[in-house]
């Protein structure tokens, strides 16, 4: 199973070899998708973890023990409401039903971020680029 997360490192732990230990200890396949790690500063990293579900959970516990704050990526998909034209193209692919037409008389396309899994499929599919991945 694959899981995507955002890791936040405080000033105190930015230089610890945490990712190295995560890989060694848990034998997870780790894919760093984005990182902003600067000396003695708040840093972040977007990771994709691949491995057994139970092992991933243990790995996440380890990260928390190390003082890393973890955000699930699914909270990071946002819609730029000004750019959304309510065309509906995204409703073809959104697997969780987060993007859907609620009211068939207005034909407005609703984005329910509560249902969003962060799969990112909508990002390249949305023709006017209204769906964005937000990483802080």
């Amino acid at each position: 199973m694959k899981k995507k997360i955002v890791l936040h490192f405080s000033k105190a732990i930015w230089d610890k070899p945490i990712i190295y230990r995560l890989i060694k200890k848990f034998d997870l396949v780790v894919n760093i998708q984005k990182a902003n790690v600067l000396p003695k500063q708040e840093s972040f990293m977007v990771l994709e973890l691949d491995g057994d579900n139970g092992v991933i959970t243990k790995g996440l516990d380890f990260l928390i023990e190390c003082g890393v704050r973890i955000d699930p990526i699914e909270q990071r998909i946002k819609r730029d409401e000004d750019r959304c034209t309510h065309c509906g193209a995204c409703t073809a692919i959104c697997p969780t039903g987060s993007l859907y037409i609620k009211d068939r008389s207005t034909m407005e396309v609703v984005f329910d971020s509560q249902l969003c899994s962060g799969c990112e499929l909508c990002v390249p599919v949305c023709p006017p680029h209204a769906m964005e991945i937000h990483i802080y």
């Binding site: 509906g88 193209a89 073809a92 037409i101 034909m107 006017p128 680029h129």
Partner: protein
């Protein structure tokens, strides 16, 4: 006594518009009015019906004159924000097409291609007031010696900027499905395998050319809402089919009539000209277009009373039949069914997906209605009507 019980001229309607007495309704509202009052009464009451559509229209672009440099230039290669514009026109004239990608776009080499930026995006950026970079290259002549320059420009810096779309407002279109066993990326959007979704692209009841299916009022010189500003119908568009298979009220059940339109880019809005990236297909632009239909007689009331359930569209497979031009049609449906969220084909329920925005189409019909009610927008008489047959 004429052919009709109600007879109005465009000049008479314009007089009413000027005195603020014209009755203007949207094509959606007209359906109800005709239903409750009948065609003759509706024609007496209503002067203008407004329509609207907003969707990807790949056959769009703009003609620019970017003004002369010192020394003068005859540009042979031109990039606008890295998007090639066609420079085979006079010295400093170019045509920028919305389906053109940046010169270094990987296209579909990394499939499905993202097509992040293209001509439509340049046009949107310009109408949004942003600066773009113009790069020109020339071979140099005795009268135009300059070999090229680079310059930042805003829309107001162009002496001439004309949205010039050779095919817009398609009168009806296919409903796209995928019979194959892998996802396909088309100009009809993403089509998931084995009939998982059916994509359509028309505003249905509000679509301009469903409301005047025989082009009785729309023709050369018809003033329209275009891209948030004012434009004109200049002639029929590419692939215009004057004699399609027709259903209720003369409305074609296949892709049929098209319009060629133009209008000053200055005065248009990024809300109604939106650069698009169609995954795996290419760049495009969503164009907002609305046409006022004068209710000259009860026949026009009849045509503008067309409702979603009366408009038929054909379902076509885009995995094999469309690309291989087999001409096969899997079945038909109507716009009421398409807008309901599911259609049924061969006993299978399929999710429907719109590609053109009904929200924006409605916004456009309402905006145009407001302009006419306020007397800001007068109707023009078409100088030559477009080819159309029963």
């Amino acid at each position: 006594m004429g052919k009709y019980q109600v007879e109005k001229s465009i000049a008479e309607i314009n007089e009413k518009i000027k005195s603020g007495k014209a009755v203007v309704v949207t094509a959606e509202e007209m359906v109800k009015i005709v239903k409750s009052e009948g065609e003759v009464k509706a024609a007496k009451k209503v002067d203008v019906v407004t329509t609207g559509t907003f969707g990807p229209m790949c056959s769009s672009g703009a003609i620019f004159n970017f003004g002369h440099s010192t020394p003068k230039i005859k540009a042979s290669k031109v990039l606008m924000n890295d998007v090639p514009a066609y420079a085979g026109l006079a010295a400093v004239d170019v045509f920028l097409g919305v389906a053109e990608s940046t010169f270094d776009d990987p296209l579909n080499k990394i499939y499905p291609g993202k097509f992040s930026y293209g001509g439509g995006h340049v046009i949107e950026d310009l109408v949004a007031g942003k600066e773009i970079e113009l790069v020109t290259e020339a071979y140099g002549t005795d009268c135009y010696p300059h070999k090229g320059f680079k310059k930042s420009m805003r829309l107001e810096d162009f002496p001439y900027a004309m949205l010039t779309n050779p095919r817009n407002a398609y009168q009806n279109y296919n409903v796209g499905v995928n019979l194959g066993d892998k996802t396909i990326y088309t100009y009809m959007g993403v089509l998931r395998p084995k009939l998982q979704n059916a994509n359509y692209s028309s505003a249905g009841v509000l679509a301009p050319l469903f409301n005047d299916p025989y082009f009785k009022t729309i023709g050369l010189g018809t003033r329209i809402f275009l891209g948030g500003g004012v434009g004109y119908v200049t002639w029929y568009g590419t692939q215009h089919n004057p004699k399609p298979v027709r259903g209720d009220k003369g409305v074609p059940s296949v892709p049929a009539g098209t319009l060629s339109v133009m209008g000053e880019l200055k005065g248009m809005s990024p809300k109604y000209l939106v650069g698009l990236s169609l995954l795996g297909y290419g760049c495009s632009m969503a164009v907002g277009l609305g046409i006022p239909i004068p209710i000259l007689n009860e026949e026009m009331a009849h045509h503008t009373s067309i409702a979603d359930e009366e408009i038929i569209a054909q379902i076509v497979d885009y995995s094999e039949d469309y690309p291989q031009a087999t001409g096969k049609v899997l079945g038909t449906t109507n716009y009421a069914a398409l807008k309901s969220g599911t259609i049924v084909l061969d006993g299978k329920e399929i999710q429907t997906v719109p590609l053109s925005s009904f929200v924006k189409a409605r916004e456009i019909a309402e905006l145009l209605k407001g302009w006419i009610e306020k007397g800001d927008f007068l109707l023009t008489e078409s100088q030559v009507l477009l080819p159309s047959e029963k």
